[in-house]
Structures are given as C-alpha cells and as structure tokens.
C-alpha cells in the first residue's frame, strides 16, 4: 500500500501551481466572468501546450496517457485558482464520453483535436427535471432510415455555447428499466434545430446553457457506442467527472483555508491578531479538518476509479457527499472570519464561495450522494 502521490505527481503539482499563479490570477478570472466565452484562445492554447487537455487520453489520440490520480493533482490546482473556461466540459464531460463510448474513428477525430486545443466539447445530459438518474433522460431520439431525430430540452449544460461538438444524451426507446434505451449522439455546433442559450449564473466562472433541440437530424455515424446502450458508459463518465470535480473542490477549499489563516495572522483587533482568539482559531482548525477529510476521500475515489475496483461507485459518492458539504462550510467560514472585507466583490472569497455552491449542485449534492451510499452499502 502506498496512499500518497509520486514524485512525478508532486512535480506536476508544482508546475501547475506556478502556471496558474502566472496565467490565471484573479484578475484573469474576473475578466472571464464578464465575458460569455469564459476563456481566451491564448490561455486555451497554453493548456494544450502543457499537455493538460489530453492528460488522460491515450497517446494514439494525442494525449499523455496519464491516470486519474495525475488528473486529481491538476484539478486541485485548477480549483485553487477557480479557473474558468471549458476545461471541465471539454476534457471530462464531452471528451471523456467520446473516450468511453466512441469508436476508434470517433476518438481519433475528436480526442486528438481536443488534446491539441483545436476543438471543445460539451455534454448535454441533464434536463429541466434536474434528475441525475436514467429516468431523467426524456429528450427523444427517433430513428428514421438510419438517421436519428433529436427533440427536447437540456438544461444546466456546461459550456455548450463554446463547444464544437455537443454529446447529447437522448432516449432511443422505452425499455424495461430507465437505463435501457439511452443513446449518446454527437451533435456538431450549429446543427439545424439546435439552439444554445447562455444562462446568467451565480457562479459566473461556470457558464451554464439551455440547449433546445427541435428535430435535430444526425446520421448513424453520430451515435457513440450502441444505440440504446449509452447509460453504462455515461455512468462511468459521470463517476470520473465527479471525482475530478471533488479534486477541484478540495483545491478551492485549501486555498480558502490558506487565505483565511494568512489573514488571521495579520488582521489586528483588540490589540492582537484575530488568529489569537479561539473563536477564530477553532473555526480555522475545523476548516483544516474538513479540507483534509475531503482530500482523503477524494484521493481514495481517484485511486478507485483509476483501478476500476468494485468499490469505486461507493468511493465516489462518499467523496462527493463529503466534499459538497466541506467546500460549502469552509468557504462560508472563510467569509465570516474575514469580517466585512469578506463580503465585498473586490475580495476573492466570493469567487470560491460561489464555486462551492455551483459544485455542490453539479452531479448531485451531499443528500443525493448519501442516499447512494446507503444503497451501495445495502441499507
């Protein structure tokens, strides 16, 4: 057993920390919040040059062929700088679905372009019913002479507005169980009948869209995997993306803890640094416990999905349940311990506080995942 990061992984962390400090300071983040794209071409190309857009893709698709534990390290650093932009949607949602379910030709076409920074992808999965289970998929895909016609509405779709290809999850048939008859379809940007509306969001570093599909026709070559067998690969994608999200949340929470303990050392009230007072000290200690626990469960989940062990789904839900609560609590306490300054737009804390909130409700909150844990331990 060796439950720690390797030297290479620690080097990746150091490189990434430096990179984001230079390339993604909060001035950059704030500028991207004000714009629809959430990213600049220049920044995106730098991510490609670092090899991070293809980090987890095989070398034959232009990737680096690294694992999920490596990705965890990178995600923590991205979370630390509340990095905006379509990395998550491209690499971990759209891209990963193509990797899981696509044919070699589809993978070649899309993954190598993603890795090179030439294409962005998104995953249109959830709908206005806001369900995370297969029964939530109601957008229809009618088969018509070998082609498919997609209709319905997708909601909370990350970065569909900048994606060159949107992977749409749609129902091809009503099967015995909701998991049967779910298909995955590649819909290129600008497809006739697809409209993408960017939605104002509380966390402006995350761009969410509503995607309306009105008789969108795609060919048989647009199907990823078997036409009705999309749920199993999708579930694997979501599991992995959830771990990556947890890692991002850990990185953000750690940064809030760092900012807060630094502030507590320099802010003087009643003649002493506020960190001298136990009302502050004990809250800071609680924050550290939350952060460390969230990391433990996240690293464990990263290992579990990387190795594909049977307990992976349980590990993932434990991590997301914990991290959802932890990031929310840590970022909220961070604001409180900063006093009035923590409530301002100017201070960066609200970026983390809002990211904690958007992350909490992405792929299921703590309550949802605790129920999943209950099921997985056979309660």
């Amino acid at each position: 057993m060796d439950f720690g990061f390797s030297q290479e992984q620690e080097m990746l962390r150091a490189t990434a920390r430096k990179f984001f400090e230079n390339e993604c300071p909060s001035t950059f983040v704030r500028a991207r919040m004000e714009e629809p794209a959430g990213v600049t071409d220049q920044f995106w190309m730098k991510l490609a040059e670092q090899g991070w857009l293809g980090l987890i893709y095989a070398e034959e698709y232009g990737g680096s062929g690294l694992g999920f534990v490596d990705l965890t390290v990178l995600m923590e650093e991205m979370g630390r700088s509340v990095m905006p932009g379509p990395f998550f949607s491209t690499v971990l949602l759209g891209g990963l679905t193509i990797l899981e379910a696509g044919s070699p030709a589809q993978k070649k076409e899309w993954l190598s372009r993603i890795a090179a920074g030439e294409a962005k992808a998104a995953l249109a999965w959830t709908e206005p019913n806001a369900r995370w289970d297969a029964a939530g998929v109601t957008v229809t895909a009618r088969e018509n002479k070998g082609a498919f016609v997609l209709s319905g509405t997708k909601l909370f779709v990350l970065d569909a507005h900048t994606a060159d290809v949107v992977v749409v999850v749609a129902r091809t048939a009503e099967g015995k169980s909701p998991e049967d008859g779910v298909g995955l379809f590649l819909v290129p940007k600008g497809a006739a009948g697809m409209t993408v509306k960017l939605l104002p969001t509380m966390d402006a570093t995350r761009k969410l869209c509503e995607v309306s599909l009105t008789d969108v026709r795609v060919g048989a070559d647009a199907v990823l995997g078997g036409k009705g067998g999309g749920w199993a690969p999708l579930a694997r994608v979501i599991e992995r993306a959830t771990v990556a999200l947890c890692a991002e949340m850990c990185g953000g929470a750690q940064k809030v803890l760092d900012m807060t303990s630094e502030y507590a050392k320099i802010r003087v009230a009643f003649g002493k640094p506020i960190g001298t007072y136990q009302g502050v000290k004990h809250k800071a200690a609680d924050m550290l416990v939350e952060v460390e626990n969230a990391k433990s469960l996240t690293y464990y989940a990263a290992w579990a999905v990387d190795e594909n062990v049977p307990e992976a789904p349980l590990a993932v839900s434990m991590a997301k349940a914990y991290a959802s609560d932890a990031y929310r609590k840590v970022s909220a306490t961070g604001i409180q311990l900063h006093g009035g300054i923590g409530f301002t737009w100017e201070h960066d804390l609200h970026l983390y506080f809002k990211r904690a909130k958007s992350s909490e409700f992405t792929f299921g909150d703590a309550t949802y995942h605790r129920e999943r844990v209950a099921q997985l331990i056979n309660l």
């Binding site: 057993m1 439950f3 002493k272 200690a285 550290l288 309550t367």
Partner: protein, 396 residues
C-alpha cells in the same frame, strides 16, 4: 498511489483472519462494543491479550529483540482491520502497548528495553499513565508531584488523578517535577514507577457510568530507584511528548477498529428496530444519518492510510495525522447519540431491565463516550494545536 497489498501481506491477512476465527473467546459478547476494556471483563481480556501475544499479533512494529516482530505499520494495520471485521475484544494493556512500550523503546537504556516491553505485550504487566493531576490537566506542564533526590533514590510526593487502570496496573508512566526552579517544561522527569512500592495508594473514583474505571493515586514518600528514570533527569516533557505521535497512530488503529465494530452493530440495531411502524434503515432521514456515519468512518480509515504511507516512506505524517483524534471523537460521540435516538423511549432503560435493548450495552457505551473529548487531550486543546502548529496562528 496504490491500495493493494503485497502477496506476503495478503497471506498475512489470511493467517490473522483464520487465527481470529478460531480464537476469539466464545464468552466475548461484541454487541455494541466500541468500548474500552470494562472492569468486569479484565480477566478475560488479560487472557485474550496473552493469546494474541503468543500468536505473534501484537507489538508488530517493535524490534524483535524487545519482544516485537520488526514489521511495518502495514502489518499492524492489517491486524487491526481484521480484528474489527472479526469483532474481536479490545486490548487490555492499551496504555502499555500504545504509549509505555514505544516510549521505553525510544528512550530506554538497554536494561530497560530488555526488562519492560515484552511483558507489556504479553499483558504480564499492565501499565497506567500518571500525567494528570488535580491542578494539571490540559495544562499538563503545571504538574506539582515532586521528586527529590536522596542518594540513589528519588522520593516522590504528590497526587495523580483520573488514572485509568491504576487499580490493576503493575507499573505507571509517571511525570514528576524534579527541578521546581527550572522553566515549567524543563524541570520534569519521566519515571517508570512500580505500583507495588510502599507509599503508593490507589483510590478508585466512581464515574458517570457508575463504574470505577479511573482512580486517584497518592504518593507518600515513595522511593524510586534512579535506574527507573526514563530518558534522563529533567527531560520528561520531551520524553512524554515526542512519542505522542506514534501513540496517536497505534492507539488510532485501535480506536478505528472500535468505531468500525460499533458502526456495524449500530446498523444491525437499525435493521431490527422500527419507528412508527417503519424499519429504521428504510427511513430516508435515517438513511442519511447512517450513510454519513459510514462516510466519516471510512474517511478516518483512508486518512489513516495517508498517514501510514508517510511513515512507510520514512517521512513525518503531516496535517492528516493531527486531525484523527478529533474526527474520531466527533464521529464516535455522534454514533452513540444515534444509538440512543434509534432506541427512542427504550434508551431510558438501564442494564437489569428485562426490556432493555441488547441488555443495556448502548446506554453504557453512550455514557462512556462523553469522556472521549476529554481523555487524551480535550477537543479544545486539539483545535489549539491544529491552529497553532499546522496553520501557524499565534498563541494566546
């Protein structure tokens, strides 16, 4: 990152598992047992630890020449995990195994290292910890028990309190003040004290559970030979503190094991109890509470694995090791509280009532758990330590 075991470790796990299956005493009732050793079970537990020792499943990381096995924390972890799965009885000489032994091995003279550790493991000699005093608890360095040199002997006068196991202990880890003029932390010496020496008087204290598990210990001119000083005169603070990290780890394994057993028992309880006509494990609210306990228990396990990894790599455990006690306390107390809530009105019944659930064991463990956030350093003190040492916040 790798959670798998080597073939040798897997084989070791199988050996431990098979041994436990055949050797856990049939009289042992594990239900609800997250407990520390109870007075009524002392004889059974003494025998149990002796058998563990003979089978070679205790003191795994201690050097061979001092009764151990020279193995790693990995094997130690495996044994504790298997004990949890098998719902094995706890280790009686827990302070000896968790604290006295490692401290003696770290600081002892060759004679001391030959003399004490193996008898600790075999439970031939039970140890207690004489740190706290009426006026020195959290603020341990203010302790006042005095030791004055008289020829080859130190003469001890004073009092300890809350001393667990003193009523059965053969030896005490004693902290006493040897230089009252030195700065508080510098004038303390660590003694190995024979509890049978004339002038040692033990008075049991009845506690919240009704039992007398801890004691007052009085010293009336007790003469301790100078060869029983551990780690040098006036170096007691150092000796007492530096081994705390290892103590936290090995005691931590034991705590983790008890928590796991308690959680399994609690879930089993929830499966057979109903509220308002519905089995508790089918109630959405209860599923949330039980799942959170499961998550927190697992979290302690993987956090422990992070800390052990650092040790196996020869590094010092970092932040993750310091949070363990606090997280364990919070989780365990919540677990015990939930047991009461599951029992509902039945929670009021005490041992002896026919209708008491599981013979009233949960009432006992619930009450006992109140001490978890006091013994071994209070939660407030743990938080101060985390904030000051790990986050670098200023001291008062």
């Amino acid at each position: 990152m790798d959670f798998s075991l080597t073939p040798e470790q897997q084989a070791f796990r199988q050996t431990v598992r098979a041994w436990l299956r055949d050797n856990i005493p049939s009289e042992w009732k594990h239900v609800g047992s997250s407990e520390i050793p109870r007075v009524e079970a002392y004889e059974l537990l003494r025998e149990w630890q002796r058998r563990l020792y003979e089978a070679g499943f205790i003191g795994l990381t201690w050097p061979k020449e001092y009764g151990g096995h020279g193995l790693t924390f990995m094997e130690e972890l495996i044994v504790h995990e298997e004990m949890a799965l098998a719902k094995a009885p706890p280790i009686l000489n827990v302070l000896g195994v968790g604290m006295a032994g490692p401290t003696i091995i770290a600081y002892g003279t060759e004679a001391q290292k030959k003399r004490y550790p193996s008898k600790i493991l075999s439970c031939e000699e039970i140890w207690c910890q004489g740190y706290s005093e009426p006026n020195a608890g959290s603020d341990l360095a203010s302790l006042q028990t005095r030791a004055v040199k008289d020829g080859e002997f130190w003469v001890i006068n004073g009092q300890k309190v809350w001393t667990s196991f003193a009523q059965v202990a053969d030896w005490m880890m004693l902290l006493a003040r040897t230089d009252p003029n030195a700065p508080r932390h510098k004038g303390i010496t660590y003694f190995l004290l024979d509890m049978k020496l004339p002038g040692v008087v033990v008075k049991p204290l009845r506690q919240i559970t009704g039992e007398a598990e801890f004691n007052e210990v009085f010293f009336d001119s007790v003469r301790v030979h100078e060869s029983e000083v551990l780690g040098g005169v006036n170096n007691g603070w150092q000796v007492g503190i530096t081994t705390l990290m290892y103590e936290r780890l090995t005691l931590g394994f034991g705590l983790q094991m008890r928590l796991r057993i308690a959680l399994d028992s609690l879930i089993e309880l929830a499966r057979r109890m109903e509220k308002h006509g519905r089995v508790i494990t089918k109630d959405p609210l209860w599923r949330q509470k039980l799942a959170q306990l499961w998550i927190d228990t697992e979290c302690l396990r993987v956090t422990g694995a992070r800390a052990i990894t650092k040790l196996l790599r020869g590094e010092m455990p970092g932040a993750e090791a310091s949070t363990g006690k606090m997280v364990w306390v919070e989780t365990h107390q919540r677990l015990q509280e939930l047991a009461m809530e599951i029992e509902g009105p039945y929670a009021q019944l005490w041992k002896g009532a026919d209708r008491a659930v599981d013979g009233g064991v949960w009432q006992h463990s619930f009450l006992r758990s109140q001490a978890n956030s006091i013994e071994g350093g209070t939660t407030e003190i743990q938080k101060n330590i985390i904030a000051e040492r790990l986050l670098g916040l200023p001291k008062d």
